[in-house]
Amino acid sequence: MSISTSRSEPGYVLCKLDRQLILATQGGLPLVPDPWGTLGMELGLPADEVLARFQRMQDAGVIRRVAAVPDHYRLGYRFNGMTVWDVHDDAISDMGRRVGELPFVSHCYRRPRHLPYWRYNLFAMVHGTSREEVEDKASQIKAVIGDTSEGHTILYSSAILKKTGLRLRKS
């Protein structure tokens, strides 16, 4: 059902060829039977080497995976709820891990508070086909967090203002 993030030792250094492969594919992988060979032709590399480099970048965590990125609204997941929680500092690592294990939580992070405007330090993103579905998922999170949280709220998105993904500059 879900894919975990592969974590790696920090500090994988992209070499020039890796960078060229990223630049060549950040718009998308070629939709042809032999995408590695097509990229290899562009960059003057054998298909085997292109594939080996992708495998290595994926093992290192530089690439999470080579995959389809859906527009979740167009898949029917109209309600994108960022649930945010004010969790006691001494409980947050444990709670974050447990909330992150819930199958419907797509991202889960600890982030800094900005008092007095923003008191929430645990962010768990959930999606649903209705507001009720998002609220039901939030109450399942609440059941996990219990009284280690002083409060929570759900921020629904009402418009995508920009969505371009991460890009390297061609410099």
Binding site: W36, V66, L155, K163
Partner: protein, 163 residues
């Protein structure tokens, strides 16, 4: 393109997909195998021909059901900077500030959210030190404070939307 893409107008009804589309959307969100002829391998799993798979994938991209198909990069692991930032923008200024913020190449995603902090965006830079600089430039371009909320701990990322 308008700075503000409102949600789909026809969302009152859930979209319907063919069985083939459904299987391709579900399977390809989990990752292409790192093998020669990877599309043929996935097509085999799904009981499709390679051409059927490629055609369906292209069509889903053309219809923007999928926003892209390719490597999903992990900015942190690439040695770059990545952060989530939020702003509190008065309604009458929202469109103007959206344009000012979106003009920054370092702003990758930007969402309007229903909260006093109503604009939330991801800042991605090739050099981690540039995050603070970009945020300062956004503050001076817009005249509003930016609340920087970089991740302090990552518990899990598993994006998968079954259809």
């Amino acid at each position: 393109m308008s700075a503000m893409t409102e949600h789909q107008p026809d969302l009152a009804t859930a979209p319907t997909f063919s069985e083939v589309e459904r299987s391709v959307i579900n399977r390809l969100q989990t990752g292409l195998p790192m093998v020669h002829a990877p599309y043929a391998a996935v097509a085999g799993e799904l009981g499709l021909t390679e051409q059927e798979l490629l055609h369906t994938l292209q069509d889903l991209l053309d219809r923007r059901i999928l926003t892209r198909f390719g490597p999903m990069f992990h900015a942190g692991e690439m040695g770059g900077g990545l952060s989530l930032a939020a702003m509190r923008i008065p309604a009458e200024e929202f469109e103007t500030v959206t344009q000012q913020v979106n003009r920054f190449n370092e702003v990758a995603h930007n969402y309007r959210r229903e909260h006093e902090l109503n604009m939330w965006f991801v800042v991605a830079t090739e050099n981690p030190d540039d995050i603070a600089r970009v945020i300062a430039r956004i503050e001076s371009a817009t005249g509003y404070p930016v609340y920087n909320m970089p991740k302090e701990e990552e518990f899990h990322v598993h994006l998968h939307f079954p259809v």
